[in-house]
Symmetry: C2
Subunit: 650 residues, 2 copies
Amino acid sequence: MKSSKKYIIGASALLIILVGCGLAVGRALNGGDESAYDETPKSMQQILSDIRSLMEANAIAAYIVPSVDAHSSEYISAHDRRLQYVTNFTGSAGTAIITLEAAALWTDSRYHLQAEGQLDSDYWTLMRQGLTDVPTQDDWLQENLPLGSQVGVDPFLITSTEFERLSRVLSSGGFRLVTLERNLVDSVWNNRPAQTSEALIPLDIKFSGKRASEKIADLREELEKNKASAIVINSLDETAWLLNLRGSDIQNTPVFFSYAIVSGTQISLFTNPDRITEAIVDHFRSEGITVTVRDYDDILAGIKEQVGERGKIIIATACNQAFYAQIPADQRIQLYSIVATKRAVKNAVEAEGMRKAHIRDGAAVIRYLHWLEENVDSENVTELSGAMKLREFRSLQENYVGLSFTAISAFGTNAAIVHYSPTEETDTLITRDNIYLIDSGGQYWDGTTDVTRSVHMGEPTAFQKEAFTRVLKGFLSLGSTVFPPKTSGTFFDAMARRALWDVGLDYGHGTGHGIGMFLGVHEYPPSVVSSTSSPGNIGLLENMFTSNEPGYYEADQFGIRLEDIVQVVPTEVAYDFAGRGALTFYSNTVVPLQTKLMDMTLMSDHEIELVNKYHERVMKEVGPLLLEQEANEAYIWLAKQTQALTRMLI
Amino acid sequence: MKSSKKYIIGASALLIILVGCGLAVGRALNGGDESAYDETPKSMQQILSDIRSLMEANAIAAYIVPSVDAHSSEYISAHDRRLQYVTNFTGSAGTAIITLEAAALWTDSRYHLQAEGQLDSDYWTLMRQGLTDVPTQDDWLQENLPLGSQVGVDPFLITSTEFERLSRVLSSGGFRLVTLERNLVDSVWNNRPAQTSEALIPLDIKFSGKRASEKIADLREELEKNKASAIVINSLDETAWLLNLRGSDIQNTPVFFSYAIVSGTQISLFTNPDRITEAIVDHFRSEGITVTVRDYDDILAGIKEQVGERGKIIIATACNQAFYAQIPADQRIQLYSIVATKRAVKNAVEAEGMRKAHIRDGAAVIRYLHWLEENVDSENVTELSGAMKLREFRSLQENYVGLSFTAISAFGTNAAIVHYSPTEETDTLITRDNIYLIDSGGQYWDGTTDVTRSVHMGEPTAFQKEAFTRVLKGFLSLGSTVFPPKTSGTFFDAMARRALWDVGLDYGHGTGHGIGMFLGVHEYPPSVVSSTSSPGNIGLLENMFTSNEPGYYEADQFGIRLEDIVQVVPTEVAYDFAGRGALTFYSNTVVPLQTKLMDMTLMSDHEIELVNKYHERVMKEVGPLLLEQEANEAYIWLAKQTQALTRMLI
C-alpha cells in the first residue's frame, strides 16, 4: 500500500482522488507481446501456428484454453471469448487443448451437434464428452505428449482446486502443469474486442435494503472470526452486491469488471478508475464507505501488498489459481465464499422487492400468453417473434431494466432440447399442434425474475397430460413442503422427481438454482440438486430464494417445464420440535398453470386445492395490475385460466 | 517379505506352515515398558500420576485418550477399553485429554448424566459436548497448554484425517501434535484384560455365496484399476467378509482381531497364528486361497515391506494414522473403503439368507409380543426380563448363533431416551399404561437382523396415536418409494421425516444404516442420513440392505420407533427413462405394526393399502413357521394383528 498511487474515494473526512495509472503490474501491461489491434481476421491456420510458436518459446507441449473468464462468470463478455476465437465454437461450455501437432475441443452433449457444425475439422478434433469411447482431457494429454512435457494454462482461467487436481494427475504420469503469466490466445488475438467498461450504476438503499457500510461491517466480523486480516473477492456479482453498485459489462447480468480486497481497515476496488464519476463518489459517501480505487490489472499487486502485511487472507474455494498462488500457504484461508453465503439470505427490502417485481413480471407473462392465444392462428408467430413480444410486455413494467437471460422460447420438438434457444436458423412457427415452452425473465431495479410455463393451445395427448401432471405433482410437492431450517437441497430435488420416478420418468437437469436481486439470474448458494457434493447445495434458511423447476423431455416429441421462483418463509405448525420453527416455500411467481394439461385422475384432492389456492392468488395479485394497464382482455383471459378446478368438471 | 518367518497356509501345492513368532516388531513387544500384570487395581490418583510421569518422560504436555480401538470398531473389547480404565466412564463414545495439571472428558448429550455419575470430580472435569459454553477439545488444548507444547496421541487410535485436521489446528496455534509409539494407558494398565483370541469360524459357501478366491480376484481387479500393488485392510468386519471367516472376539459381532494386506500375488492375514487350526487350513483350501499368516503385531512391519516393493498401496479414508504415516505420500492412495463398497451389494445367496433369517427372526419377535400381551398383567415382566424372554424365543430358531446387539427394551419414559438400554438400576416394569419399544436383533448363520416395534397394550392418547401414525407414514413412504439407481440416502432420510415435519415434529437420529450378513448389525455403506457429507451416504443399488427406522421421542413421556430391514430390489414401471430401470424397497422384516396406535383419519387410502398388504405377507410368511413351532396361540394372535384395516372400522 505504500508505493503504488491509488484513487481513494468515499466517506472519509479527507477525500483524496489520485488520478493516474499507478504501478500497474497487471497482465495487460505486463507481457510486452500484446498483439497490435488489427481488424483483419487471422485464418485458423494462422491463429494456431501463432499460438504454437509461443508454446515453443515457452517450452510447453500443450496449452489449455478454457471457456471461462477470470471471475468464473456464467455469462462472459466478447473480450473473454478466447475459446470461441481459437475454435469458432460459440457454446457456453467447453475446453480446448492445443498441442504442437493436434488441437481438440471437449464439450458436453448439449453442444455436440453445434460444435460439429462450427469446428473446422482440418484443424480441430471434437471430443464428445459423455460418450464412452471419448478420452478425458487427463488421459488424452498423457497419451499425446512426450513424457516429461510441460502443459501450460492461464492461472486466471482455472480454479485452484482444478489446477491442483490436474497438476497431481499430470505429475503422477510424468508431466508437469505450469502457469503462463501471459495468455497465449490474448497474445495472438489481433482483433480482440476491448474489455467493456460501461458506466457504474449506484443502487439506491430503497432497493438494496442495506448500506454497503453494514455489509462491510458484517464481512469484517467474519474476518475476525476467521482470524484473517483480509478477504479477496473474485466474483463480479459479489463485488456488485457488496458495494451496492451495478453495471452492464456483461449482457443481461448487471455487473462490472472488478475485483475487491476488504481488509480490517480498507476497501480496495480494482476496476477501470475512469468510471468513478462524481455520482459514484456520492454513492460511496451515502453508503458510508471509503473506497480505494485501483486499476483492474493491479489486483495481483494488491494481493501481494496484503500478503506483505503478514495477516491471513481469505479466498473462495472457487478462486482462480493466480490468486491462490499469490498467497503463501500459511497465510491462506480458502472457504466457500463468505460473501455469497451472506448474500444468499435476502433482507426484508430485497425480499419485498423480489415479490413486487414478480407480480409485475407476472403481468407481462400473462399478457404475452393471452396475446399468444389470440394470435397463434395468424400463423406468423414464431419462437423468436414471440420472445420479442414478451420482451415488449416486460418493457412496459415499472422498474424494468432489461432481460435477465435470452428467453428459451421453444415449440414442440425444440422444447425437448433442454438448453434450446431459438436462432434465425431454428426459429419455428408456434401452432396449436404441440406444447409451447417459454422460460424467460427480467431484470428490474427491485428484483430479478425467472419463470417457465408450458402450454398446449390445441389438444394434448394423454401421455403429454400424464407427463405434465407428474411434473406438476413434483412442482406442487416441493412448493408445499414444510421443513426444518437448514434442510439440504437434495431433499427438495428428489421431492420434485418422485411422481415421475413412480412411473420410471425423470429429467436430466437440477431442480433449482438461487437467484440474485437485480443481479445474476443464477446465483449460488442455494441450489436444489441431487449432487450432495455441490457446494451450492447448502441447507435452506428463511429468505433464501430458489427456482422450483421440474420438467419432462420426450426426445423429438415435446418438452415440459414448470418454474417458479420460491422464497423460503416461516410457517405455523402445531408442534415445535427442538424449538427450531418450521419453514415452507412461497411462490413469488404469479402466472397461471395450464389446467387443460392436467390429468385430474392423477391428482389428489390436496393437489387440486393447492392449484386452486395458487390461482386465486394469481388473480388477486396480478388482476388489478392488468386493469391498471388497461389489459382488459388479458384480465378476462386470466379470470378464466384461474377458475377453480373441481372433480365434477372432469 | 524376506527376513521375517511367516505362516503360509492355503491352497498352494506346497503347504508350508511355519510356526514361530517371526521378527514381530509390533507394539505389544516393542515398548519394553509393558506394565506387569497385577490383579490389584490402581487408584485413579495412581493411574493419572503414572500416566503423567510417562508424559513428562515423553516431553508431552497433553495426552489424548480416544474411545475407539485400532480398527474403528463400533463395539470394542475389554482389552481396548482404555478410556474406561482411565476415567471409569463406560459410555460408548468419548475422548479424554490428560494434561500435567488437568484431566477432562468430552462426551455427547446421550451420556451427560451417565458420565456425571461415573467420573470422580476430584480428578476429572466433564465437558458436555453440545452445550454452548463448553469449549471444544481444540480450544481447550490451546487455552490450557503453554505455547510450544507437544500433544501426544496413539497413532492407531486416531484416523489419519482427524490427525491431519487436529495437527493443522494445533500447529497454527503454536502447538504440535505428535504420535507416541507406545500407548501410555497400556503402559500403566496393570490389570488389563488380554486381547481375546477366540476360535475362528469358517463360513460355508452355502451362507457366503461367494468364495474368498473370487472376492480376492475382484479386489485385485480394483488394484489394477487404481494402478496399486496392494491394499491394507483395517476393519475387522472387512477381513471377516473377505476371507469368509467369522470369530467372536467382540460381543455380538462375529469378527476376530486381525489386519490383512492383499497384493497382486499374496494375501497376508495378521492375527494370532495359534488359531489357524487344521479346520481353518481346510477352509482356506476349499475357498481357493493361499494365506500367509503373521502375528497381529506384525502389521506395521508388513506394511513397511510392502512399501519396500515400491508400488502404490491403497488404504481406506477411515484408516488410522499409524498406517497412513507408514506409507510415503507418493505411494499412498487413500480411498473410501473398496472392500466395504463391494460388500455393500449382497450376492443372491446372502440376500436369500437375509430374507429367510428375517422370517425366523419375525417368528421369534411375534412369539415374544404375543407372550408379552399374555403376561403383562402378571406385573412381573420388566424391560430386562422381557428382553431375556425374547432372547429365548430367538434361540429356538434355526441357524441362530446369538444376539446382534443388546436389546433396547424400553417402557414409557425410558423409551424417550434414544440410546437407552435397561440396566439393573433402570429396569422398569412393563404395563398397559404407556408405549413399550423393543429394538432387538439376532445373528444367524445366514443373516443378521435388527427390528423395532412400538406397542401400547392399553389405551394410547390421541397425541401418541398422531405421533405413531406420522412415524408410520414416513416409514411407509420410504418403504414404498420408487427411485432410480444411485439415489442418495439423503432423499430417503427426508422422505421418512416429511409427515412429522408437516406438523413441526422430528427425530434426532439418522433414518437408516446398512447391515451385515452374519456380521455387524451396523455396516457401512449404505446409510440413510441427512448429512450429505457422511461417507456411508452413497447412492443405493440393487441388493443393498438398510434399516428404515423413523421415530418420535417426547422427552419424559414416551418414545416410538418402527424399524424394518429393507432390501433394494428392482421394480416394474410403465416407462424407462434413460434405460436405467427402477428400484424400490422390500421389507425383509416380517412383524406386525400395531394397528391400535394408528389414527386412520391421518392416513391415505394408499397408506392403508400398504399396511394391509404388508400384514397379509407377514401372516403368509411367518404363520406356517409358528404352526411348525407349535406356537398355536401366537398364530391366532398374529391372525388378529394382521387383519385388514378398513375405513368402516373407524
